[in-house]
Amino acid sequence: MTGARRITVGITYIALCLLSVLFAAPFVWMIATSLKVDRAVFTYPPEWIPRKPVQVSYAGKMRDLYTARLNGRTVKVAWLHETPEGVRAAVLDPEMRARKEIVVPSQSLRQEKRFFLRWGNYPRAIKSFPFLVYLRNSLIICIPVVLGTLISCTLAAYGFARLTWPGRDALFIFVLSTLMIPYIVTLLPMFLMFRAFGWIGTFLPLIAPAFFGNAFDIFLLRQFFRTLPAELSDAARIDGCNELSILWRIIVPLSRPALATVALMTFIWAWLDFMGPLVYLNDESMYTLALGLSAFLGRHAADWSGLMAAAAVVVMPIIILFFFAQRTFIKGIALTGMKG
């Protein structure tokens, strides 16, 4: 390794480490807050490690434990109450028995805290909103959306990638151009249309469109189908297979990685969708996790540890999915970048 190369590598690592600290910090902060007791949540400046104040019993009441500098010695004291002259505190001996009461300036006191993870925030958060109902609703929507997208986009992508017919390429460019239509432009007439169908307040407006394909996934699958050798289908055609059975018997088995990518990305997209459920669902018992979480936020505005625990619970399935399917993710993304 040359000197210049070594310096480049060094700078790269320093930059990467600094950036990853910045990117990871919000996550760590979310988890840390979700495990804190309320008093630790409202501590400023904020602390990264969840700790709770140590307490001692004094005269039948629980008091916070502090350390104080007294005549050059460090002693433990129990905070009693504030007075105009300073803090009234009880000096404790090493066995935590009270010796005498003193008044000290509050700056000379340092609170004793110990490491404590309050796991109870999680069951509390989950119990305070119908988590399982929302989870079920999210799955009721996501699973048919994934199936519908796979079926419709596979068919359309096959038509664009492996069949030759007049007007095909022009139509494909037209399909791609629909990617540039903002969702919100079509939202209102779609709402009115689904209202005329009597579908508002059901899952149907969120599920049905998936069965009619979408430009992005058609593009992605077409790119993949085009990489498979044409001889495969030609041989099957000579053997008398029709196009549908070529697609089902030859193309689909060879395209599992691409189909897995589409399934995964569609699942995540449907899982994250907020505006669709917000517009089409009006009964709280039909909310999805994303929508339910925002309703939870509305009701628990200052309960930060509960909010962070609820957020962590909603984030977790996605992160677990990512770790199990990391290679599928990365492959699929390489596929989107493919040219042609």
Binding site: T8, V9, T12, Y13, A15, L16, L19, S20, F23, A25, P26, F27, W29, M30, T33, T43, Y44, P46, I151, A156, G159, L163, W165, P166, L171, V175, L179, M180, I181, P182, I184, V185, T186, L188, P189, M190, L192, M193, P209, F211, F212, G213, L272, F274, M275, V279, L289, L293, L297, W304, L307, M308, A311, V314, V315, I319, F322, I330, G337, K339
Partner: protein, 292 residues
């Protein structure tokens, strides 16, 4: 024979064609008709000509929301530069690539609602991490989301946390840049910066183009974060009343469907103009491989 092939082809793409007619073409056409109507949902639409459009021209909140959304476009070049920058760092054949890639990518797949909740807490003016960080650096504290001058930059900062989504696409593109191009440029005496400018960036320019166009469309409909995070909706002094948010409020809170459809159509035309502009300039900066 030719017509049989046409029929087979059309049959395969027919789900998309039917879907396009029902879920794209009809809504856009209907939206145009409704935009010429007074339509309060509960009573049938009544044709009023261009009244909605002339009312919009005089609606100060319409202009406000347009400017607010325009402000967010600052995010686009920053996100592109940051995404490419991080991707280039990761493309240096570093050890621990999967670890770094995961750290940068994960925020991009966190549900927007959860992201919004987390950053609401980070931007908390009294107890939040953002102000604690500023104080640690010896800088003054900010109001973030409760101050009209910092509310939009706060949204931009939060969105940049999700830059990993773009980064991972740039990284895939960078890994596809042929090594022989770099070597040829190095032999011709090009330094590292020159190689970035004349080899790497042109080679990944189709991907940058794709990201700019989709990023633009995304910013035009900026909604969820503003819906969840700013209270009252639209933020302090309407500083986060974004276009899509105001459209949504007109439709589903004030039940002015015709008015909201007019806003939708204006957005449609604006996004069309913006896309055409980017396409026009693309001839100058997007390079496709020879022989395509």
């Amino acid at each position: 024979m030719k017509s049989r092939r046409l029929i087979t082809g059309l049959l395969f793409v027919s789900p998309w064609i039917v879907g396009f007619l029902i879920f794209t073409f009809y809504p856009i056409a209907a939206s145009f008709y409704y935009s010429l109507c007074d339509y309060r949902v509960l009573s049938p639409p009544r044709f009023v000509g261009l009244a909605n459009y002339s009312m919009l021209a005089r609606d100060q909140y319409f202009w406000r929301s347009l400017l607010n959304t325009a402000f967010m476009f600052i995010e686009l070049p920053i996100a592109v530069a940051l995404g490419i920058g991080v991707a280039m760092l990761l493309n240096q054949a570093v050890k621990g690539l999967p670890f770094f890639r995961t750290v940068f990518y994960l925020p991009a797949i966190v549900p927007t609602v959860a992201v919004s909740m987390l950053w609401l807490w980070i931007f908390n003016p009294d107890l939040g991490l953002a102000n604690a960080g500023l104080e640690r650096l010896g800088l003054p504290r900010l109001g973030w989301l409760v101050d009209p001058t910092t509310s939009k930059p706060a949204f931009i900062l939060m969105d940049l946390w999700g830059v990993g989504g773009g980064m991972i696409i740039y990284l895939a593109a960078l890994q596809g840049v042929p090594q022989h191009l770099h070597e040829a440029a190095a032999l011709d005496g090009a330094g590292p910066l020159q190689r970035v400018r004349h080899v790497t960036l042109p080679a990944i320019s189709p991907v940058i183009f794709f990201m700019v166009v989709t990023g633009m469309i995304g910013l035009f409909q900026y909604f969820t974060q503003a819906w969840i995070m700013t209270n009252p909706r639209g933020g302090p002094e309407h500083s986060t009343l974004f276009y899509a948010l105001y459209l949504f409020q007109n439709a589903f809170e004030y039940f002015k469907m015709g008015y909201a459809c007019a806003m939708g159509w204006i957005l449609f035309v604006l996004s069309l103009i913006a896309t055409v502009l980017v396409f026009r300039t693309s001839a100058r900066w997007v390079y496709y491989e020879e022989g395509r």
